[in-house]
C-alpha cells in the first residue's frame, strides 16, 4: 500500500462526513439543497527527499506537513461548500531519494493514483525544479518551501506558490538590517562573499554585488566554489588579506562546517556573518560549538515568532521530537494552512479555482500573514536568526525578537 499518512491521530479515519453540516453556520443548509457525495479525503501528495543528499531537508519539512494535517483533521477537516461538509486531509508521500528523475516519476504516481487536490513540495531547488513542471503539466497547485532560488518563479509557472523568502529579499534585507541595527562607522563595510557556481549561488552572488554598494558596502573578496567542496582555505586567506569584516555565504553543511573550522584555524573572524543553509539545523550548534556561534541566518521562520498557532505547533513538536519546532517546520505547516484556507474559501475541490484563490487571497498562518505575488513568491516575514549560546535566537525584526543581535562577533580565539 502506498504510504498514506493519516497522521497519528485517529481522528482522520473516524471523522464522519455527515457530522459536519450541523456544525457549520453556513446559511446554505437551510435550503435542503442536495449536494454531491463528498470524497472521503482531500488528497495531498508529496514527493520528498527522505534519503540522499536532501534527506536532511525532507526530514525537517515532512513533520510540518504531518502536524498541520493532524491539527486540521482534529477539527474534522476542511469545510467544502460544494459538498457542504468537512472533509479530512490525507497526505501521501513518497521518498524520491534526492534524485530529480525519481521525483518526476513519484509526482506522476501521486497524480495517477490519487485524486490530488494539491502537491506539497520537497526540499532543495533542484528537486523543486524537477517537480514543479509536473504539477504545472498536471495543473495541480504546488506549494513548496525551502528554496530561495528566485529564478524558478520567473519561468511563468501558474500553479507554483512558495511562502518562503527568496534571494532578492535575503540579499536586500541583510544590508537593511545591518544599517538599521548598527550605527554608521561601526558597520562591517568590507564584505567577503563565498558563493557557489550553481544557479542559486550565482543568482544570490549577483544580487549581493548589485545591492552592496547601494547600502554602502564594498565587496572586497568574491570567491566561488562548486557545491561539496569543503576546503575554503584559499578563499579565507584572501578574505583575511583583504581585511574583510563581513562574510556572506550560502554553504551546505559540510562546506560550512569546513569553512568555519578553517576560519578559526587561520584566525579570521568576520564581525558579522550571514550563512544561509548550513546553520539552519540544530546540528550546527551541536557540531560546531563555539566555532559556530554568532552566525546569522535567514531561514524564513523561527519558533519564537509571535504568530497565532505557533504555540500549538511547538507543543506538538516538543511532544514528538523533544524540542520546539525546527526552522522549516513552520513554513511547511503554513503550506497546509494556506491550502486549507484556500479550499475553504474556494468552496470546491476544483484545482483551478483553488489555484486562483491562493493567488488572490490572504492567509493567516504560523509564519504570519501571507499573500502571493503574481510569480508565486510569497510576501512573508524574513526574520534574521543568530546562533547564540548554542541556540538559535530571533534577532530581527525587533517586535518578534527573542534576543538582541550580537555585534561584532568576538574573535574565535577569545570565545
Amino acid at each position: 500500500a502506498p504510504k498514506a499518512v493519516e497522521t497519528e491521530a485517529p481522528v482522520v479515519t473516524e471523522a464522519p462526513a455527515t457530522e459536519a453540516p450541523a456544525e457549520t453556520e453556513a446559511p446554505a443548509v437551510t435550503e435542503e439543497a442536495t449536494y454531491p457525495p463528498a470524497p472521503e479525503f482531500i488528497e495531498l501528495g508529496s514527493s520528498i527527499s527522505l534519503t540522499g543528499n536532501f534527506g536532511s531537508l525532507g526530514n525537517l519539512i515532512l513533520p510540518g506537513y504531518q502536524i498541520a494535517v493532524e491539527h486540521i483533521n482534529a477539527e474534522g477537516g476542511v469545510f467544502v461548500k460544494e459538498y457542504n461538509t468537512k472533509i479530512p486531509l490525507r497526505l501521501t508521500y513518497y521518498d524520491d531519494e534526492s534524485d530529480p528523475t525519481k521525483a518526476v516519476s513519484k509526482m506522476e504516481t501521486l497524480f495517477s493514483e490519487h485524486e490530488l487536490t494539491a502537491y506539497l513540495g520537497g526540499g532543495g531547488s533542484s528537486m523543486h525544479a524537477a517537480s514543479i513542471p509536473i504539477a504545472e503539466k498536471n495543473k495541480v497547485p504546488y506549494l513548496g518551501i525551502s528554496f530561495a532560488l528566485y529564478k524558478i518563479h520567473q519561468q511563468g509557472y501558474k500553479y507554483l506558490f512558495s511562502p518562503f523568502p527568496k534571494s532578492p529579499n535575503q540579499t536586500e534585507d541583510v544590508f537593511k538590517i545591518l544599517n538599521e541595527a548598527i550605527p554608521e562607522g561601526e558597520r562591517p563595510t568590507k564584505v567577503a562573499v563565498f558563493a557557489y557556481n550553481d544557479d542559486w549561488g550565482k543568482e544570490w552572488g549577483g544580487l549581493v554585488k548589485e545591492r552592496a554598494p547601494e547600502y554602502g558596502y564594498e565587496i572586497v573578496v568574491y570567491e566561488e566554489n562548486p557545491v561539496g567542496v569543503n576546503d575554503w582555505t584559499a578563499a579565507i586567506q584572501k578574505a583575511k588579506a583583504a581585511g574583510a569584516e563581513m562574510l556572506l555565504t550560502l554553504p551546505i553543511f559540510p562546506d560550512g562546517s569546513g569553512m568555519f573550522k578553517t576560519m578559526a584555524e587561520l584566525g579570521w573572524t568576520p564581525k558579522f556573518s550571514l550563512v544561509i543553509r548550513a546553520p539552519e539545523g540544530v546540528n550546527w550548534g551541536e557540531s560546531l560549538g563555539k566555532i559556530g556561534e554568532y552566525v546569522t541566518i535567514f531561514p524564513g521562520w523561527h519558533h519564537g515568532a509571535k504568530f497565532e498557532g505557533v504555540d500549538k505547533l511547538n507543543a506538538r513538536y516538543e511532544e514528538l521530537y523533544g524540542r520546539p519546532a525546527d526552522l522549516l517546520t513552520g513554513p511547511a505547516y503554513a503550506c497546509v494552512q494556506i491550502l486549507a484556507q484556500a479550499i475553504e474559501k474556494a468552496g470546491t475541490l476544483d484545482r483551478d479555482v483553488i489555484r486562483d484563490t491562493i493567488a488572490s487571497g490572504e492567509f493567516s498562518t504560523v509564519i504570519g500573514k501571507v499573500t502571493f505575488n503574481a510569480d508565486g513568491t510569497g510576501n512573508v516575514l524574513d526574520p534574521l536568526i543568530q546562533w547564540q549560546n548554542g541556540k538559535m535566537e530571533l534577532v530581527w525584526p525587533a517586535e518578534h525578537a527573542t534576543a538582541p543581535l550580537i555585534y561584532p562577533a568576538p574573535a574565535f580565539e577569545d570565545r
Partner: protein, 316 residues
C-alpha cells in the same frame, strides 16, 4: 530453428511494447516503463564495451550526458528532436574518439578508474559551465505528452538492443570477446585489439548518447550536470552485472529487475526501502554469482551434461 524462435519472441515483445500506450493510460505507469526502457538502453550500451569487450567503463554517464546536453540545446533552439538526438549521439562519438586512444593505454582497474575520472571531469566541467537549471518553457508543457516520450524511449531501447545483437553475432563481436578474454592471444591471431575496443566504445557511446537525447526530451526540468552524474554509470553497471554481462538479455533483465524492485519497494516501504533493496540485491548476488544469465547458463549446462552422460551410457 532456435534463432527463428528468439526472433519471433522478440517481435512479439516489441509489438506488445508498442501497443502499451493504447491500454495504459496512467502516466505513472508510463513513466516507469520509460525509466525501464531508458535503463535498458543504458545498461545494454554499457554492455557492448564493458561486457563484450571486457573494458569496464565507469565513465558511461559522460556519453549519456553529452547526448542529453546537445539534444536539449538544439531542441530548445528549435531543431527537430530526432535530428537533435542524432547530433547528441555524434557528439558522444566525438568524445569517444577523443579519449579512446589515451584511455585504451590503460588496462584493468586502471582503465576502469581512469574512465571514472573522465566522467567526473565532465560532470564537474558541465556543472561549472552550465550552472543554470534547464526547464522546458511553460507554454510547451501544455503540449507535453508522455506517450511520445514513451515511443522515443522504446525506439532507442530497440535500436540499442538490436545493434548489440547484430554486433555480438558478427565477426566484430567474436573479435571483441577475444580481446576481452585474452588480448595477447587475440592480437597474435590478427585481431586489432585497439580497433575493436574503439569500435565498441564508439558504438556504446553513440547509443548512450541517443539515450541521453531521449532523456533530455523526457525530463522537463533538470540541471544540465545531472545526466553526467556517476549514479547513472553505477546504476547501469550494476544492472548489466546483475543481469549477466556479455549477453544480450542480461542487461535487459538486470534493468527490469533493478527498476521494478526499487520502485515496488519505495512505493511500499517509505523509510526502509533502501535497506530492503540492498539486502535483496546482495542475496541475489550471493546466490547468482554470474547474474541471472549465469543461472540460466548453469541450468542449460546441467541439462547438456545429463544429455551427454545419457549418450555415453547408450554408446559406451
Amino acid at each position: 530453428m532456435k534463432k527463428n524462435l528468439s526472433f519471433v519472441i522478440a517481435l512479439v515483445v516489441t509489438a506488445a511494447l508498442a501497443a502499451v500506450p493504447l491500454f495504459v493510460k496512467k502516466d505513472s505507469l508510463l513513466t516507469y516503463l520509460c525509466m525501464i526502457l531508458l535503463y535498458v538502453s543504458l545498461a545494454s550500451s554499457w554492455n557492448i564495451l564493458g561486457g563484450y569487450t571486457g573494458q569496464v567503463n565507469l565513465g558511461h554517464s559522460a556519453f549519456f550526458g553529452l547526448g542529453a546536453i546537445a539534444t536539449r540545446l538544439l531542441w530548445f533552439a528549435g531543431w527537430n528532436i530526432l535530428l537533435a538526438m542524432l547530433v547528441g549521439g555524434l557528439l558522444a562519438i566525438a568524445f569517444a574518439l577523443l579519449i579512446g586512444s589515451p584511455a585504451f593505454k590503460l588496462r584493468g582497474a586502471y582503465f576502469t578508474i581512469g574512465t571514472l575520472a573522465l566522467g567526473q571531469i565532465l560532470y564537474a566541467t558541465v556543472g561549472n559551465l552550465f550552472p543554470q537549471i534547464s526547464s522546458m518553457p511553460v507554454q510547451d508543457l501544455i503540449s507535453y505528452t508522455l506517450v511520445t516520450r514513451y515511443y522515443l524511449f522504446l525506439a532507442v531501447a530497440l535500436i540499442t538492443v538490436l545493434a548489440a545483437t547484430l554486433v555480438a553475432n558478427s565477426r566484430w563481436g567474436l573479435g571483441m570477446m577475444a580481446v576481452r578474454e585474452q588480448e595477447d592471444a587475440a592480437e597474435s591471431l590478427g585481431v586489432n585489439a585497439f580497433q575493436h575496443k574503439l569500435l565498441a566504445l564508439v558504438l556504446s557511446a553513440f547509443l548512450a548518447g541517443l539515450a541521453g537525447g531521449a532523456f533530455a526530451f523526457f525530463q522537463i526540468g533538470y540541471y544540465p550536470q545531472y545526466p553526467f552524474s556517476p549514479i547513472w554509470t553505477l546504476d547501469s553497471t550494476m544492472m548489466a552485472y546483475i543481469g549477466g554481462t556479455g549477453t544480450i538479455l542480461g542487461p535487459i533483465i538486470g534493468a527490469i529487475f533493478f527498476v521494478v524492485l526499487k520502485e515496488v519497494l519505495s512505493l511500499n516501504l517509505a523509510e526502509f526501502h533502501p535497506t530492503v533493496f540492498g539486502i535483496l540485491f546482495i542475496l541475489v548476488v550471493l546466490f547468482l554469482p554470474g547474474g541471472f544469465m549465469g543461472l540460466w547458463k548453469r541450468i542449460k549446462d546441467k541439462q547438456q551434461k545429463k544429455r551427454e552422460s545419457m549418450a555415453e551410457l547408450s554408446h559406451p
